[in-house]
């Protein structure tokens, strides 16, 4: 089973996204903080990563940068989830290395399909 790393500090949100991903056939590896997420990203090499931007400690942008900088994980898609897109957030995310982003609230029924579309994976 393909592994998906989800870096999210809110347990409710984590639960929700896990439902959607597991229903789509992925194994979900949770990480509750940015630092943990970076660790796991480098060690596990998941199929893709879901990154919540609003994290305590290092935020999602920084975590993305670190993951990208590690070199080993250059091509893994990083899907950012953010609760608001303010000015420059979009550019920041892309600059850090995010492959795509979605705004909260995410619809669990459609999110996986949308992720697949954004990372060009055929089939659900």
């Amino acid at each position: 089973m393909k592994k998906v790393l989800v870096i999210e500090d809110n347990s409710d949100n984590m639960r929700l996204i896990t439902y959607a991903l597991e229903r789509a056939g992925y194994e979900v590896i949770p990480a509750e903080s940015g630092e943990r997420g970076v660790e796991l990203a480098i060690s596990l090499r998941p199929f893709f990563i879901i990154m919540d931007i609003n994290l305590p400690g290092i935020d999602g942008i920084e975590a993305t940068r670190q993951i990208r900088a590690s070199g080993a994980n250059g091509s893994i898609p990083i899907i950012a989830i953010t609760s608001f897109a303010m000015f420059g957030d979009r550019d920041k995310m892309i600059a850090a290395g995010c492959t795509a982003y979605f705004e909260k609230p995410i619809d669990p029924l459609t999110i996986v399909r949308k992720i697949h579309e954004s990372i060009s994976v055929t089939g659900d």
Binding site: S83, P105, D107, P108
Partner: protein, 801 residues
């Protein structure tokens, strides 16, 4: 070396006595030389002649002797040879004939002496006669005796004889003496053939020749004597000739000298006349022009050739015809005519004014033979005088205009000259006023006199020009202001010779200056007044500026506060956004999952209830979003990302969201949406279109909801700037006209009579309006009729700027 008769073409060649003598000597010497040559020539010719004669005479002698020689040779020949005693003459070895030697009966030997032999012997005897003998020879080419061999000359002679010559002769030296030798041929006769026949001669042939050489000595002697006599004669003749030449030349010398002197004098006079610039004309008593100088040529235009011989009336104007006669009469009377001004006419027709001086011309006896007139062209002079008059007038005029007079003080004679204008300035009568420096000073204002005098003296002493303004005081008390300038001219030794100066009436100028000064003072006063006024205004202005500054500071404070508030608001929005959305995410998300039986099966009631939860969650979310959007728009913090998309796709998606409600209400959907690419903010436009559609569904109980898309062009614009109109129309409850203006305001909710509670935030249309106007660069209009339905039209540019 040939001479000319003293007349050279160019002007005067002065022949003084010395030059003349030299000329003369040249003639004389040349004549003498020629005479000498002549005499000598004749002498030489004569001598030659004599010589020839002498030679001819010698020749005659020689010829005679020759003939004689031939004669007795002939005799011997005729005799056939002569026998002589052999004891007196040895036989001739060269005579080879049979009968050469004979013996007489008594035993005397005889031998033949042939003609040649005889001749030769005789020749020898002759030769011995004297020390200057006649030398005879007999020769032949075919000689028998070697002694008869012809010498060179004789050989040449023989050749000549063969050619037909009968005689040759020459003067030559023989044995150291002068001889004339003559050579003639011997012609063969019958008798010759006796002995010489065997040599091949024929009768008539040249057998040889006999030459006779006679000494020239005594001939020469005679000749010399004759020549000497001749020479004396010639010498005498030569002397005669020379004497005559010299005498002649001396005789004519004086005559020529006198002539030349007078000629010279004439020439000098003539060229003086010629070179004069005045016209000098001589005429006879009838008025015929005899002489016409180059001055006349220039003045009157006629050349000498044209004028001489003509009547003087040629240059007399028609109205002066009797003048000449009158002048002549005056001269006859013995009067002098000087500086007589009259008019003449030139070749080209111009009339000129001339001044005449007329004199008589008398011959050697003092009789009047003609008139000589010197005419001086004064027309130029008159012109000059005219010009002078004119110039002087102009100068006076200029001085009058400028009120400038000029003066000149001759310091040597102490005479003062004033121009007209000065008299006028000083208002003095020139007739009564004696111009002098003292008089001038007297007219000056007493207070200024000293200064003027000092200025003048200083100027003269220091050799610098001066200019001084001073006043004139008139008897009636009036004052005039004048500007006086002066310059002094000095001699080479430094003494002042004269002063020249000008006086200009500057009274007017002074008055004007006074006026200007007054005006200036007045102006300055006014300026001072204004300045104080301005200063007061300035002060007031400063006060205002201070107030403004205070206000600005206050405003800045307020601004800072506002900015702070704004920042806080943004922070609030941001945090609200996040904080409010997070739990809602769970509500909506989980209710959705549960409803879709991800966690387990559900019955219809459960699904319905979950649906309510989900719906409310969504409603809450939309409220939050609206509020946040409004606050963002209010803060101007909306970020718009235009992209190209198909409008139809957007509308389809919006429809899909309201389709369920539409179908549940049993409403019909009408679509007129062609594909249309536009470049705009998709999300925001979607929001607006969805808002209108959901409103339409919300407020319509029966009938149709329609969407229509149309491309329009604003008048006068290119298709690039065209707009698209999206119209959402319904057959709902409509909007009362009094409510219509309020529709786009926030928190306006309509109360429908059919439905008690129509969900909505009251912000939908407000937000839509704001989004379209401020973000999408478009506009929204509303047409509605209460109870019939409503029509909302969004018009946005196809290409969002």
């Amino acid at each position: 070396m040939l001479w000319r008769k003293g007349r050279t073409r160019t002007g005067m060649k002065s022949l003084s006595g010395k030059d003349h003598r030299r000329e003369l000597k040249k003639y004389g010497l040349t004549a003498i030389v020629l005479w000498t040559i002549l005499i000598v020539g004749l002498l030489v010719w004569n001598f030659k002649l004599e010589r020839k004669n002498t030679i001819d005479q010698a020749r005659v002698e020689a010829r005679a002797i020759w003939t004689h020689n031939l004669s007795y040779r002939k005799w011997v020949t005729v005799m056939g040879g002569v026998y002589v005693r052999a004891d007196r003459m040895s036989p001739n070895p060269y005579l080879k004939i049979k009968d050469r030697d004979k013996l007489t009966t008594d035993g005397m030997a005889l031998t033949m002496a042939n003609p040649a032999y005889v001749t030769r012997q005789v020749f020898e005897i002759i030769k011995k006669e004297s020390d200057q003998p006649i030398i005879n020879r007999i020769v032949s080419e075919k000689y028998l005796n070697p002694l008869n061999k012809p010498d060179e000359w004789e050989q040449k002679g023989l050749v000549a004889f063969a050619a037909g010559e009968s005689e040759v002769s020459e003067l030559t030296q023989l044995e150291g003496r002068s001889y004339l030798r003559l050579f003639r041929p011997m012609i063969t006769t019958e008798g010759c053939l006796l002995c010489h026949g065997e040599q091949g001669y024929q009768v008539g042939d040249i057998r040889g020749g006999i030459s006779v050489a006679v000494p020239m000595a005594h001939y020469d002697k005679i000749e010399s004597a004759a020549l000497i006599n001749m020479a004396f004669v010639y010498l005498f003749l030569w002397g005669l000739g020379v004497g005559a030449i010299v005498f002649y030349h001396v005789k004519i010398d004086n005559k020529q000298l006198l002539l030349l002197e007078s000629e010279e004098k004439n020439r000098l006079l003539s060229s003086i006349v010629q070179s004069s610039g005045d016209a000098i004309i001589a005429k006879d008593l009838d008025g015929v022009i005899l002489a016409w100088n180059s001055g006349a040529e220039q003045i009157y235009g006629y050349s000498a050739e044209e004028a001489i011989g003509q009547s003087i009336s040629l240059i007399i104007p028609s109205d002066h015809t009797d003048e000449v006669a009158g002048l002549i009469a005056q001269i006859k009377r013995g009067e002098q005519i000087e500086n007589y001004t009259t008019e003449r006419v030139c070749k080209d027709g111009r009339r000129i004014t001339v001044s005449l001086t007329v004199s008589p011309v008398r011959d050697g006896e003092g009789k009047l033979v003609g008139i000589s007139a010197i005419a001086h062209d004064v027309s130029k002079q008159i012109d000059a005088e005219e010009v002078l008059r004119f110039t002087t007038e102009r100068l006076k005029q200029a001085q009058r205009l400028a009120r400038l007079g000029s003066w000149e003080l001759d310091l040597v004679t102490n005479t003062l000259f004033w121009s007209e204008e000065i008299y006028r300035i000083f208002e003095v009568d020139p007739a009564r006023f004696g111009a002098s420096y003292e008089a001038f000073l007297g007219l000056i204002h007493p207070d200024d006199r000293a200064a003027v005098n000092a200025a003048y003296s200083d100027s003269v002493r220091n050799r610098t020009p001066y200019a001084i303004e001073h006043r004139l005081l008139f008897p009636d008390g009036r004052i005039k202001y004048v500007l006086e300038q002066c310059e002094t001219i000095y001699g080479v030794d430094g003494t002042p010779l004269r002063s020249v100066g000008t006086v200009q009436d500057i009274t007017e100028r002074k008055e004007t200056e006074e006026k200007i000064r007054e005006l200036n003072a007045c102006l300055e006063r006014r300026v001072a007044e204004r300045t104080t006024e301005l200063q007061a205004s300035q002060q007031a202005l400063m006060n205002i500026v201070e107030d403004l500054n205070e206000k600005t500071a206050e405003l800045e404070q307020a601004n800072a506060r506002l900015q702070e508030l704004d920042r806080l608001k943004s922070m609030f929005v941001a945090s609200m956004s996040h904080e409010l959305r997070t739990p809602l995410n769970s509500i909506i998300g989980f209710s959705s999952i549960l409803h879709d039986e991800w966690v387990g099966p559900l019955n219809l009631e459960q699904k319905k209830d979950l649906d309510i939860v989900h719906r409310c969650g969504r409603h809450l979310l939309s409220l939050i979003n609206d509020v946040i959007d409004v606050s963002k728009i209010e803060a101007g913090k909306i970020e718009s990302i235009p992209e190209e998309f198909d409008l139809r796709g957007l509308i389809d998606e919006a429809i899909s969201l309201i389709k369920k409600d539409l179908e549940e209400k049993g409403l019909e959907l009408k679509l007129n949406v062609p594909p249309q690419l536009i470049y705009s903010d998709q999300r925001r436009l979607f929001q607006c279109v969805l808002n209108l559609l959901s409103n339409a569904v919300k407020f319509t109980e029966k009938g149709t909801v329609s969407i229509e898309v149309q491309l329009v062009s604003s008048p006068g614009q290119e298709s690039e700037d065209s707009f698209v109109e999206i119209t959402v129309a319904d057959t709902g409850i409509g909007i009362r006209s009094e409510d219509q203006p309020r529709m786009f305001q926030p928190f306006v909710r309509l109360i429908s009579p059919t439905q008690a509670n129509i969900p909505g935030t009251g912000l939908g249309l407000y937000l839509t309006h704001k989004l379209i106007h401020e973000i999408l660069h478009g506009e929204i209009r509303l047409i509605s009729e209460y109870g019939q339905g409503s029509r909302f039209t969004i018009k946005i540019p196809v290409r969002m700027p």
